[in-house]
Amino acid sequence: MLNRSLRDFGLNPIVGYLLSAAAFTGLSVYLFDKTTLAEYLFILVAISFIYALSQTRRNDFLKSCFSIKTYYLIRFTENTILALPFFIVLILQHCFLSATALIFVSGVLVFFDVENKFRFSLPTPFYKRPFEFIVGFRNVFYVFFFAYFLTFMAISVGNFNLGIFALILVFLICFTFYTNPEDEYYVWVFSLSPKNFLLQKMKIAILFTTMLILPVVASLSLVFTENAGTVFAFLGLGYLFLITVILAKYSAFPDRMNLPQGFLLAFSLWFPPLLLGVIPYFYLQSVKRLNELLS
């Protein structure tokens, strides 16, 4: 499935794996260089990936296909494959306790199907405007609390860069809410023109991101007053990228973003002035794509 997804994205699977490995290594080096909390972030991210494999429906399917012994072997192999890159980095960074904890948790999660056991639905402040932020928040709410914790730590130890990292983390998480295209029925159902549909999506995204990022921005700009300008510059840039991600998604809709679109997005992240051209381009492409469903 992963190979097929990579091919759909326009990448040779081998190239895709190599690029992923390079990106993972680069990000790991950057994180451990920038913050002492990187090891905790690593555990959190690794466990959230492994947790995603514990869906009851998926595992019920596996159980129905394989013997119980083979099922646990598959689950153990999957969890190990996912945990391994994080484990290696933690070992290389001499975080032995965290590495051991990660392996232990990934082993324990083999025996748990964690989804749909509870009838409880996590309340969110976004109930009036489904669905991206409701689904996204419920999936990764703990990362927001981690970002708030990082902000608190940044203020406690007077590390402004760590605070900016927390701000970027909140934005990155919000971006992920818009990476996968929804079923086209959920676009079709809107009685809006493509332009108004996109405007509404952007308005809601900016409003809800502001709600989530406000504690970080307010704390940083109040405590690091001399750097308030930098905070607001990052905030503005974050909003621009948020808009770009939304437009990139609908510029390929109902398909997933393809390789050229991914490159455009990546180049814009690397060199933000490109957004001046990329945003109008994605906008026009999005209108064209949405016209087929909304007009």
Binding site: N116, I134, V135, R138
Partner: protein, 226 residues
């Protein structure tokens, strides 16, 4: 009124709908029947504007889709969206200001639960409730009775009767002939992408008998049941 003229649809070289022409009048309930793969769902998706096609679809509204409630055979639900949030999304989509979801929860669904945890019938009822709240003028109901309990079946049948009285247009597909018998004014038989028969209410019994004979034939005998 919806007027379909020479509608054709192909997936690659496979022609699913072949030059279909049909008119759906206001205040009438239409049944579309046909075997699996005969093109019913594709026809519905074309009418809704979810599939590109050749031919024309005309109606009195400038955009049919904005007045159309489309109940899909197998409605998709986002993970971690409650029934209440699903209804809110559909009301937002059509700018309907509705807050009293509990009052309008005619199927007694657990609205605070995630919709993906619902049973097949509950999902169908939630999707139906959502399009009912939108005050649509035209309804396409693809297998509305599928997996639904007997009580809800009665409610859905009554809703369709009320829609007819209100002058709305309803198009239904169902594999349960009795439900079509109870609700439809006319039934169209779709076979291999072509409408091969149009039957009015007084001939429904004959159609059912004919379909039974054609469908069953000597198939059961071939099984050699003992």
């Amino acid at each position: 009124m919806i007027k379909i003229g020479n509608l054709s649809k192909a997936f690659g070289t496979h022609e699913v709908l072949k030059n279909i022409s049909l008119t759906f009048e206001k205040g009438n309930v239409y049944g579309i029947v046909g075997e699996n793969g005969s093109g019913k769902t594709t026809l519905f998706r074309c009418i809704a504007g979810l599939e590109k096609h050749s031919g024309t679809i005309q109606c009195e509204h400038d955009k049919l889709k904005n007045h159309l409630g489309f109940l899909q055979t197998d409605p998709y639900f986002f993970p971690k969206i409650t029934g209440r949030e699903y209804l809110q999304l559909f009301c937002n989509a059509r700018k309907i200001d509705e807050n009293n979801f509990d009052g309008k929860n005619i199927f007694d669904l657990p609205l605070n639960q995630y919709a993906v945890t619902y049973s097949t019938g509950m999902k169908k009822k939630l999707a139906l409730t959502a399009i009912l709240l939108q005050n649509n003028e035209v309804f396409i109901l693809d297998e509305p009775f599928n997996g639904v309990d007997i009580q809800s079946n009665i409610i859905i049948t009554e809703i369709i009767h009320r829609f007819k009285a209100m002058g709305k247009t309803v198009i239904i597909s169902s594999h349960i002939f009795s439900t079509l018998n109870d609700t439809c004014d006319e039934i169209h038989l779709l076979k291999d992408g072509v409408f091969v028969k149009r039957v009015f209410k007084n001939e429904f019994g004959l159609l059912e008998q004919e379909m039974k004979e054609i469908t069953i034939g000597n198939k059961i005998e071939r099984l050699g049941l003992k």
